[in-house]
C-alpha cells in the first residue's frame, strides 16, 4: 500500500508520541510508526516511578507516563501503525516499512526521528575470559523480570552505575536475587544521586567506585567475576583483585543513540540538531535519545513536542530558518545539545560537564549568560534557557565551565 502524509514520526517512545501530538496540534496530518506491538518504548519496562515530574507535574511510573500520553493521542487524528518496522528512508522523502501484510511506502513532507537508543553490550568492553551464559544487559534483565516474570539469576554483580544499573540493582535485590555489588570504573557514580540513595544505600548494596571487571569465568554458565581497582588513568592497580561468585553479570555500560535507517544526516554519534530540532537535512527533525541520551523522559518529551511542531510548520512551508548559529563546546564541556541555534526561537541548552565540580560557573559567550551550579557531575544534565537574540553577524557561541573557589 502507498501512504501520503505531512509528517511521519518514526518511533513511538516518549519522544515520538509527544512529537506526533504536537505535529497534530499544529495542523499536520501525522503517521506514527512503531516496530513494537505497542507504543511506549523503554517506558514499558521502566516500572519504577520518577517520570513526568516536569512534563505532567506528577510523579508517575514509566507505564503511567506512557498511558497518559497514549490517551492524549487517542483524541487526535494521528494514524498509528504498530508492528511496523521502517527499513529505509530515502532523500526523496520516501520511507519503506514492513509489517505482517508486506512492504509499504510512505511519501511525506517532513520526518521526525525518535528512534531512541540501544544498549552497549558487554562484548564491546573487551574483557578476557570464557564466553558463558549469564551475562545480560540491564535492559534485557529488566524485560525478563518486569514483563515476562522470569528470574534470570540467583546472585549477580552489576557493572555500570548509571541510573539503569542502579535501578536494576534494587529490582534484582527486591526479587530475591543476591546483588553482591555495583562496579563503576569512574571515581563517582554515573547515575542520579537520588538513585544511589534509594537503590543502593537503602538496601546496603556496595558500590565499588574506581573498579572494573578484569575477567569472567565459568563452565557454560558464569560462576566467577574478577574485579580490580583502577587508578586515575583507569589502569588496573595490581594486587587489588576481588573475586565474586555470581551466576549473572548485568551490564549497564551506556546507551548509543540509534540513527538507523537514516544514513545521510550529520551525526556525532546521535543526530545533530538545531534548537528547533532540525537536522542537517531540512525536512528531517530528531528528538529524544537518538540525539543525545537524556536523563529524564520529561526532557525527551519536551524535545519531541518541539520536533513535532517545527516538522508540522516545515511541512506547511511556514518554517525556514535564515540563520544558524553554531554552538561550540568550550572548556570542561563534555556533551552539548543542540549544536545549532536558530536565533529567532528560544533555546533549551542541555550540557554535561567533563569532570566533577564543587561549584561551577557555566557561561555562554558572547551572549553574556552565566549560571552557577553546586556540585555539578558529568552524570547530571544541566539545562540553560536562552531567549531569542537578534544579531545578524553572530556565527558562533561558546559554552564553557569553570570551577569557582
Amino acid at each position: 500500500m502507498k501512504y501520503e502524509t505531512d509528517v511521519v514520526v518514526l518511533g513511538g517512545g516518549g519522544g515520538g508520541m509527544a512529537a506526533a501530538k504536537a505535529a497534530d496540534k499544529n495542523g499536520a496530518n501525522v503517521i506514527l510508526i512503531e516496530r513494537e506491538e505497542e507504543n511506549g518504548g523503554v517506558l514499558n519496562q521502566c516500572i519504577h516511578n520518577g517520570f513526568g515530574i516536569h512534563y505532567y507535574r506528577k510523579d508517575l511510573t514509566g507505564p503511567e507516563f506512557k498511558e497518559t500520553l497514549q490517551e492524549e493521542l487517542a483524541n487526535t487524528n494521528i494514524k498509528i501503525l504498530n508492528s511496523a518496522f521502517v527499513l529505509n528512508v530515502n532523500k526523496d522523502k520516501q520511507l519503506t516499512f514492513v509489517n505482517h501484510k508486506g512492504i509499504h511506502e510512505i511519501k511525506t513532507k517532513a520526518l521526525v526521528m525518535a528512534t531512541g537508543a540501544r544498549e552497549r553490550h558487554f562484548n564491546s568492553l573487551a574483557v578476557p575470559g570464557d564466553r558463558v551464559a549469564g551475562i545480560f544487559t540491564a535492559g534485557v534483565a529488566q524485560k525478563y523480570i518486569n514483563l515476562q516474570n522470569l528470574k534470570p539469576a540467583n546472585s549477580a554483580l552489576i557493572v555500570g552505575s548509571g541510573d539503569i544499573g542502579l535501578i536494576m540493582a534494587r529490582r534484582l535485590h527486591l526479587e530475591g536475587i543476591e546483588v553482591k555489588g555495583v562496579v563503576e570504573i569512574l571515581p563517582y557514580p554515573g547515575g542520579l544521586e537520588r538513585n544511589v540513595q534509594q537503590c543502593l544505600r537503602d538496601y546496603n548494596i556496595p558500590l565499588y567506585l574506581s573498579h572494573t571487571v578484569t575477567r569472567v569465568e565459568g563452565n557454560k554458565r558464569l560462576s566467577k567475576v574478577y574485579v580490580s581497582q583502577v587508578d586515575e588513568n583507569r589502569q588496573v592497580i595490581p594486587n587489588t583483585e576481588k573475586v565474586f561468585n555470581v551466576d549473572a553479570l548485568i551490564t549497564s555500560v551506556g546507551l548509543i543513540p540509534l540513527t538507523d535507517p537514516v544514513k545521510f544526516v550529520e551525526t556525532g554519534p546521535g543526530f545533530i540538531t538545531s534548537n528547533t530540532n532540525q537536522t542537517s537535512e531540512d525536512w528531517i527533525f530528531a528528538a529524544g535519545n537518538c540525539t543525545v541520551v537524556f536523563d529524564l523522559v520529561d526532557y525527551v518529551s519536551r524535545e519531541g513536542e518541539k520536533a513535532g511542531k517545527y516538522a508540522a510548520l516545515y511541512s506547511q512551508n511556514q518554517y525556514f530558518p535564515e540563520q544558524k548559529v553554531k554552538v561550540k563546546k568550550g572548556k570542561n564541556i563534555n556533551i552539548l545539545h543542540p549544536m545549532y541555534i536558530d536565533p529567532n526561537e528560544r533555546t533549551k541548552l542541555y550540557l554535561r560537564v567533563s569532570k566533577t565540580f564543587k561549584r561551577v560557573e557555566v557561561t555562554v559567550e558572547p551572549l553574556g549568560i552565566k549560571m552557577i551550579e553546586e556540585e555539578a557531575r558529568p552524570s547530571e544534565m544541566i539545562e540553560i534557557s536562552i531567549k531569542p537574540f537578534k544579531d545578524k553577524n553572530l556565527k558562533e557561541i561558546e559554552v564553557s565551565a569553570r570551577e569557582l573557589g
Binding site: G62, L174, Q198
Partner: protein, 130 residues
C-alpha cells in the same frame, strides 16, 4: 542536666530527580529536633529530612501476575510511600498476588497493604486474552 547529642547527617532527598544533598544537624532525643538544614532547594526537602531521620518512606514498585491477560504481568505501585522497613514483607505479598484481566491503570490491587494506609494500584492496563 541531661546532655543532648547533636548528630550530623547528609541526606539525599529522593522526592524529585534534582536529588538535593541536604546537610542536617539534629538532636536525637525522644522527640527529634532539627537544629540546622542546608542544601534543600525547596520546602519539601525539609519534610523529607524529618521523615528520613525518624522512619524513611519509599514508594513500592513491582509487577504482579495476571490471569487471562494479553501479557502475563501488570506493573503496580503503592499510591503513597510506605515505610522502608516493611519493603521485604510487602514484596513477599505482591509476589504471591494474582489479578484477573482485564486490569485498568489505577485499579486497586490490594487495599491498605499491611495497615500502612497505602493501596497497591495497577500502573498499566492489561486487556483480556483474545
Amino acid at each position: 542536666m541531661n546532655s543532648v547529642e547533636y548528630k550530623k547527617k547528609k541526606i539525599v532527598c529522593t522526592n524529585c530527580p534534582l536529588g538535593c544533598k541536604i546537610n542536617v544537624v539534629y538532636a536525637d532525643a525522644d522527640e527529634i529536633e532539627i537544629v540546622e538544614v542546608k542544601g534543600n532547594r525547596c520546602k519539601r526537602g525539609l519534610e523529607f529530612v524529618k521523615q528520613e531521620i525518624t522512619d524513611p518512606l519509599r514508594v513500592v514498585v513491582t509487577s504482579v501476575k495476571v490471569e487471562d491477560g494479553e501479557i502475563s504481568m501488570a506493573s503496580v505501585r503503592s499510591d503513597k510511600p510506605v515505610p522502608l522497613r516493611l519493603m521485604q514483607d510487602i514484596m513477599k505479598i505482591l509476589k504471591e498476588t494474582k489479578v484477573k484481566a482485564p486490569v485498568k491503570r489505577g485499579d486497586v490491587v490490594i487495599q491498605n497493604i499491611l495497615d500502612t494506609g497505602s493501596d497497591i494500584i495497577a500502573t498499566r492496563s492489561v486487556n483480556r486474552k483474545k
